[in-house]
């Protein structure tokens, strides 16, 4: 699995550099967006890198290679799902690093806050988005599902901002929810958030795997 993920990153050396630039750009321009700034930047770059890898797979017709190697399809699909978190972690690290540099150089720039909520938001948004779009890629291939994935991406962003607005309008509800979580221990809080996300992710994995198994190369 390590090698499959490593390959996804290696094939996009130029893209990684571009991703770094993008993050710098986002860090400078999204500063007014609050927590959402972090989530959005991470989601955008994750989208860029994950699907870049899929595009490379498709362009090189390397699905044929992967299926010819003695490696289970379950592993190939699992590697893709796990790679999302690797990329999210990498992106978060890069953002943190960029902000450190900005602070260190004392540049007169505001940056969006780097908080745990923001990071959690990034993970959640990426999980949701990939859970929805990966089955499409595994069934139809990257090229054919490009348009739909693009639309999904903007829906996710739109949906997230709608969600955030809704939260802000329903301050009362937020208060109740906050009280609810305050009474829970950290573990329970984490579990309540992580579990549905994991469930969706795993369902998506099962769907992707069954598509990939039936696919002809």
């Amino acid at each position: 699995m390590y090698h499959l993920i490593k390959k996804d990153l290696l094939v996009q050396k130029r893209a990684l550099l571009l991703a770094l630039c993008l993050l710098v750009w986002f860090s400078l321009t999204f500063s007014g967006m609050g927590i959402a700034g972090l989530s959005l930047s991470v989601l955008a770059v994750t989208y860029f890198l994950t699907f870049g890898a899929s595009a490379s797979d498709e362009k090189n017709r390397s699905d044929r290679l992967l299926v010819s190697l003695p490696v289970r399809k379950s592993l190939i699909v699992a590697a893709k799902y796990v790679s999302v978190y690797v990329i999210v972690a990498l992106t978060l690290f890069l953002v943190y690093f960029i902000q450190l540099v900005i602070k260190f150089l004392q540049l007169p720039v505001d940056v969006f806050p780097f908080t745990l909520e923001g990071a959690a938001g990034s993970v959640a948004a990426s999980t949701l988005y990939c859970a929805l779009s990966f089955p499409l890629i595994f069934k139809y291939g990257y090229m054919k599902s490009r348009m739909v994935n693009f639309i999904l991406f903007f829906l996710t962003i739109g949906g997230s901002s709608f969600f955030l607005d809704w939260f802000q309008e329903n301050a009362g509800l937020i208060q109740k929810i906050k009280e609810f979580f305050a009474e829970r221990s950290d573990w329970e809080t984490a579990a309540l958030f992580v579990t549905p996300a994991l469930v969706i992710y795993i369902l998506s994995y099962c769907l992707s795997l069954s598509f990939y198994r039936k696919r002809e190369f």
């Binding site: 090698h3 290696l10 094939v11 090189n60 390397s62 010819s68 190697l69 003695p70 490696v71 002809e216």
Partner: protein, 292 residues
């Protein structure tokens, strides 16, 4: 009898094309040439063997194992060389090798290094910068570096110059020397197989037309050349195909012994090449008889 490949009644249906009742087998230590015109079903057969596409019927046994149930065990022992590059263009030769390597339990790094030296593979060059011949050699090096017992090659020499094709054949000859490896070589360039193949299987429009040793094939069949007035009434039924030109006729016939008896000195009788076999069996209207 150590049957490395055993295919029975294989079938696969597409909208405009079907593979019907494909059956043949290959023992350890021999090379089988899989010949047929473009679109005959060669690549489809290989994809079915590698489980890249699902079969509709029949059975494929590799190393005595079912190719689907024991897929991983089977693929461990297969080295493959495809005609189109399926490697990652952006990676270097070394990076690509390092990607493939962990998947094979029996990877032999020393063997790979030997091939790198022998082929002159530039380890730090990106795959996209390699010539077509070099790409094939890399695929071959990778395929031969994990003690594979079966080498499956799908038109590996298409688009390559005669020099590289000859190098490939030399490598295969050395490979065959210990009798441990079998090679399944699909191509429409029959001259590659004229010398090296032990067995020939001919496929056309999704069906196997013949599958036998090259020896038997080239002895059973013959090219008959004669003047325009050559009387073939006595042996018409022995002819697979006939071609008339302005100055005479030429054809492929089977049962060489019978043909010689019936035609005797009135015609020239020659050994066919695999190209002749391919052309006459697949009834191309512009077929010609190749001469040595």
């Amino acid at each position: 009898m150590d049957k490395i490949v055993e295919i029975t009644g294989l079938s696969k249906h597409y909208k405009g094309f079907s593979l019907k009742n494909i059956s043949f087998s290959l023992e350890r230590g021999y090379i089988m040439g899989f010949i047929g015109p473009n679109g005959a079903g060669k690549s489809t057969t290989i994809k079915l063997m590698m489980n890249l596409v699902k079969k509709d019927g029949g059975q494929i046994k590799l190393f005595g194992l079912d190719h689907e149930k024991d897929e991983i065990a089977v693929k461990e022992r297969i080295g493959f060389v495809y005609d189109e590059n399926c490697f990652y263009d952006e990676l270097t030769v070394e990076e690509m090798k390092n990607f493939i390597r962990p998947f094979y339990r029996r990877w032999d790094e020393a063997a790979f290094k030997r091939y790198v030296r022998e082929f002159g593979l530039p380890l730090n060059k990106q795959i996209k910068r390699l010539s077509k011949g070099m790409k094939m050699k890399f695929a071959l090096a990778a395929a031969l570096s994990h003690h594979a017992e079966l080498l499956i090659m799908d038109e590996p020499t298409s688009g390559l110059d005669p020099l590289v094709r000859n190098e490939l054949l030399d490598i295969l000859r050395t490979l065959m020397e210990d009798g441990n490896t079998s090679v399944f070589f699909s191509t429409h360039i029959t001259s590659d197989l004229d010398k090296i193949a032990d067995y020939i299987t001919l496929i056309h429009e999704g069906e196997i037309l013949l599958s036998t040793t090259k020896e038997e094939l080239l002895e059973e069949y013959c090219i008959v050349k004669g003047g325009k007035n050559l009387d073939l009434s006595a042996c018409r039924e022995l002819f697979i195909g006939l071609e008339e030109s302005r100055y005479g006729i030429a054809g492929l016939a089977r049962n060489k012994g019978d043909v010689i008896k019936r035609l005797g000195g009135s015609a020239v009788i020659e050994r066919p090449t695999l190209e002749d076999i391919l052309l006459f069996f697949t009834s191309r209207s512009d077929s010609h008889v190749s001469s040595h």
